[in-house]
């Protein structure tokens, strides 16, 4: 029986991993994601989960352990936050290139210096070009759901890629919310067992990862890129199945809120969407035609879906929760890709960005009011005056 409980995002991630019957788990403590591993450690200790729980000696080892496990046919699970995510940097590309579909849970944390516990997307965003699937949840419920959806997509033989399932530190990871846990029969219907391709074995010996010929370097990259042409289709199928089996209502790529007739729109990712929805409601009451688009997957980037969802809007404010120092817009990363996605439209919306929710700061309803004011002025003047606004600065 599906059951409804109140739990944090960390607990929800652990419940998702348990439902997926993960077999090899590798931990290393760093706040705030640690609570996921604390929950899983207890589940293993209590005999609720038949898995090997390995205390990695660092995040680099965590990724290496799950790489080895996935190469040997086990469903593997790990996670990290902040500088832990970047410490493991060497292993992201070999994992994706080797097509090992393990999963990594991220509860975001600001990178150092100087040591800030607050949430910020920069940690996981650093890895976005390593060939992983990457996306953000906005609630503990979606964390649980994404854990299952990601295993299903990642382990699909058309995909076979590792997945990064992100949630904001504290805002989601540590704030309890209502979560409906699926019945195990639903999970079984949705998520087939992991079927590795050419795993390490003594009966069918294989070599994993020998060096390629010099003329195969570019083809290898092209083939890795080509996988991402198929991924959106698999995500659509998996999301449709998930919605049907679990009775949810996810848009596969872009969570759209009052967008249909919107003149200005906020482009957000993660839990700040919850505040944003309220802000949209309030603005609507004041007669401002506001809407919101929330990105569910950063990789693969839903180019066309965004163009379709946002093409009719007059001005878009990208709420950046990560940094791209010295980047084209001198703000965050999302605006670059959003602008690129809209470039080929006949009528392009105006796009600016707002640096908000950095270093763990809350984005308040009043901040959205301010953004709406900027966007409304842009619409009136039919001009983007600035690429980036730093909220409160």
């Amino acid at each position: 029986m599906a059951k409804e409980l109140i739990m944090t995002g960390c607990r929800a991630a652990a419940e998702g991993a348990k439902a997926a019957e993960v077999e090899v788990i590798c931990s290393f403590p760093i706040r705030p994601y640690t609570a996921i591993m604390m929950e899983l450690a207890k589940m293993v200790a209590d005999g609720e989960l038949n898995a090997e729980f390995i205390h990695g000696e660092g995040e680099h080892a965590q990724l290496s352990v799950v790489l080895g496990a996935a190469a040997s046919g086990a469903r593997a699970y790990t996670g990290s936050s902040g500088v832990g995510v970047t410490y493991a940097m060497e292993i992201y590309s070999p994992m994706a290139g080797g097509r090992y579909p393990a999963q990594m849970a991220i509860a975001d944390r600001t990178l150092d210096p100087p040591g800030d516990f607050g949430s910020e997307h920069t940690d996981a965003m650093c890895t976005r070009d390593q060939g992983w699937l990457l996306g953000w949840a906005d609630s503990p419920q979606e964390v649980y759901d994404n854990t299952l959806i990601n295993y299903r997509v990642g382990e699909d033989h058309r995909v076979m890629l590792p997945q990064m399932v992100c949630q904001e530190g504290y805002f989601v990871s540590h704030i309890p919310d209502k979560v409906i846990l699926g019945d195990q029969s639903q999970v079984k219907k949705f998520l087939p067992p992991y079927r590795p391709i050419g795993p390490l074995s003594t009966t069918k010996p294989v070599s994993h990862g020998p060096q390629i010929r010099p003329d195969q370097g570019a083809p290898m990259d092209a083939m890795r890129a080509a996988v991402f042409l198929d991924v959106p289709k698999v995500i659509e199928e998996a999301t449709a199945d998930f919605n049907r089996i679990f009775g949810r209502n996810y848009d596969p790529f872009v969570d759209q809120y009052k967008l249909a007739d919107a003149e200005i729109a906020f482009f957000v990712m993660g839990a700040h969407a919850n505040t944003c929805r309220k802000a949209v409601d309030r603005l609507r009451k004041q007669g401002v035609k506001a809407g919101m688009a929330r990105l569910r997957w950063v990789r693969p980037w839903p180019t066309h879906q965004l163009a379709n969802a946002l093409g009719h809007v007059k001005a878009i404010g990208v709420v950046e929760t990560s940094t791209s120092y010295g980047g084209a817009m001198r703000g965050g990363n999302l605006i670059h890709e959003l602008r690129a996605s809209l470039y080929d439209l006949d009528q392009r919306p105006l796009v600016t960005s707002f640096m908000a929710g950095l270093g763990g700061e809350t984005i308040w309803p009043a901040d959205f009011d301010y953004m709406a004011k900027v966007l409304t002025e842009m619409v009136k003047e039919k001009k983007t005056k600035r690429y980036v606004y730093w909220i409160g600065m």
Binding site: G97, G98, R99, Y100, M160, I197, G198, P205, V206, S207, H208, G209, P210, I212, D215, Q216, P219, M220, A222, M223, A225, A226, L229, T303, H304, A307, N308, G311, D344, L345, D346, Q347
Partner: protein, 117 residues
């Protein structure tokens, strides 16, 4: 949508340049025939069966597994395809049964081949 947006096209990697899935290859059996190394050598070990005691030291000394003991025939067999001519076996042979002979002394010497392997 008023206008059709550009797509991603397709990626067609020529078959001969394709990399196997995840760069996973089947393990070789007995020898790696894709990597013949006989054309590396300038000398080869030549064996005197009178002196050879079948002590198997050459067999245990070769990095490239180029000495095989044929038990039924009671003879050591040299594997030409992979011998790199390092001469460890010659140095190790306790009964002086092996001699280094230049490849040029053999009609089929690998250094004579018009086309290297």
């Amino acid at each position: 949508m008023a206008k059709e947006l550009p797509g991603y096209g397709t990626i067609n990697v020529p078959k001969e340049r394709q990399v196997p899935f995840g760069a996973v290859t089947k393990a070789p059996v007995c020898t790696q025939q894709l990597f013949i190394t006989s054309n590396w050598r300038v000398v080869r070990p030549v064996k005197d069966d009178e002196k050879c005691t079948r002590c198997l030291i050459c067999y245990m000394s070769c990095p490239d597994a180029c000495w095989i003991f044929k038990e039924e025939e009671d003879v050591m067999e040299w594997v030409s395809d992979f011998c790199k001519g390092c001469q460890i076996c010659i140095n190790e042979c306790p009964s002086d049964a092996l001699t280094a002979v230049p490849e040029l002394d053999f009609p089929d010497g690998v250094v004579r081949l018009d086309k290297p392997f």
